[in-house]
Subunit: 336 residues, 2 copies
Amino acid sequence: MYLTTRKVAVMGAAGAIGSNVVQDLLSTGTACRIAMYDPYAQGLEGAAQEIHHCAYPEAEITWTTDPGEALAGASYVISSGGAPRKEGMTREDLLLGNCEIARQLGLDIARYAPEAEFVVVIFNPADITGLVTLVHSGLPAMNVTTLAALDSTRLRSALAAHFGVLPDAVTGCATYGGHGEKMAVFKSGINVAGVALTDILAGASANGRSLSASEWEAVKDAVRGGGAHIIKLRGRSSFQSPAHQSVAMLRARIECSAYPWPCGAFFADGPYANVMMAAPVAFSAHGMVANVPSGDEEDTAALQDSYSHICALRDEVIRAGLLPPVGEWGAINARL
Amino acid sequence: MYLTTRKVAVMGAAGAIGSNVVQDLLSTGTACRIAMYDPYAQGLEGAAQEIHHCAYPEAEITWTTDPGEALAGASYVISSGGAPRKEGMTREDLLLGNCEIARQLGLDIARYAPEAEFVVVIFNPADITGLVTLVHSGLPAMNVTTLAALDSTRLRSALAAHFGVLPDAVTGCATYGGHGEKMAVFKSGINVAGVALTDILAGASANGRSLSASEWEAVKDAVRGGGAHIIKLRGRSSFQSPAHQSVAMLRARIECSAYPWPCGAFFADGPYANVMMAAPVAFSAHGMVANVPSGDEEDTAALQDSYSHICALRDEVIRAGLLPPVGEWGAINARL
């Protein structure tokens, strides 16, 4: 009935994302043994009561304000436990506060859940909080990821709306690099109703509609502003889509199945070394294997730019003392 | 991949319950063709965008501020489109405002979705709003229901907590009659870890624990105050559990499978005639068949009391002109 009966720890479970993650783990039939953690006891109890009242068969739901109790014996961890992004804030505004939370999450995983097989970090700026969690957790890089799908699903939605087709008719959408204003929105690989986006940009049409260079720029701008747009419309940052896609990532990891969207992945070497960033991945029984994104010259230049931006954020966190200098990572995480 | 590709209209889809209903319809694999309606355009667009960004395969999600467009061709309708209950309000405080919304919902269904096979009304006081919707909709009684599960799932949660067992170890929990302070919490039929609650109340123990008469009264009070308790803990009325159980009801209706909780059902005759109230039901291809709840003398007296309370609320709504007198219902709904 459920894909796994192994323990999933959901950190930040009183929040909008976290409580939705718990529901979605159960509704999708992914997991039924869930420990809910949040420092906010009252809201946590309310969220846990709601999940109990949902009456999922075979569910074993516990809740605790002790992160060690939540993490103990957990095979999987999903953490949305940062401060949410408010209207007018960029993801980077959240940087240092959330990196302190990420550092503590990493240390808690190292202490209480050293056997964790898959950790999904959701809170922003996720590239950096995921990296900080990874370095401090002592886990192999293939066990720690960040939610990086939403820019790509927003790209698909925007293109589907422009061309008047169902979302499924748009394939190959991906943004790589950072999950921030400097994300690299790739055009290579996208097809709309069977027509390559590069051909469309060269004058072809799909479903009877064209896409000018300036319209494509507007689509990319809409994707970059997609999270802020949700805040403007709903008065709160997105929570359903991050929750559902985090669960979808865990599902793919457990099933070792294809996951169609980028995931945050650490690169130890190569052109994008020593950061965590959105990349195409494959899941195997050993964990997540990341590939270097491939695109045309313009896409690659955008990715290089995004990489530089992530490196700058990373270095800011290193200067703040929340992460050791790159050369010393091996001393606190021998598996990197 | 989904249980049905027929159209589901979700009314009130910008709200916490409605947007969660849409997500849960998709996550549970129940339905993929969903029309989202809400009068609040901005929030509706935000909720719809979020669902698009979830990227459910094969999903066809539309949104509209026109109820006729949402309902046209819908086989199923789930409506949470009332005003939410705030801290300190009883469900009855909401009565007349929400009954006006229910009357309009019924008229809209009669006009735009006369072939609807299953309508689930969630907004409070659900017994009365469901009845008002039914009378005005022109649908057969077996096609219209209200969410009535949560008092029963809360009863199960409270007993599981008291006895220190998993929720699944407590079976047969049901509250019948009204979904309000006057609900009838039945003890007949409940088993805890295989021991009948009536035996426990007579001195037996389950999982090594007893339940005194005063503790049982406290459990019943906790169930009656369960919704208010969630508001106190979370600062908002429950939304995950009503959404999930509404979807579970629709699933059972489509599958013609067993649904383990009470549903709101209209009785045309018998001891509980001319109201909609929580009752045990079975689903068939023809719709929902309701049975008269059976319990011991005390349970039955509580149900009679609850029935009288629903009749009084119904008569208040009749006096307000939102529902014709009982004898005239057949003139506006020939199938009652």
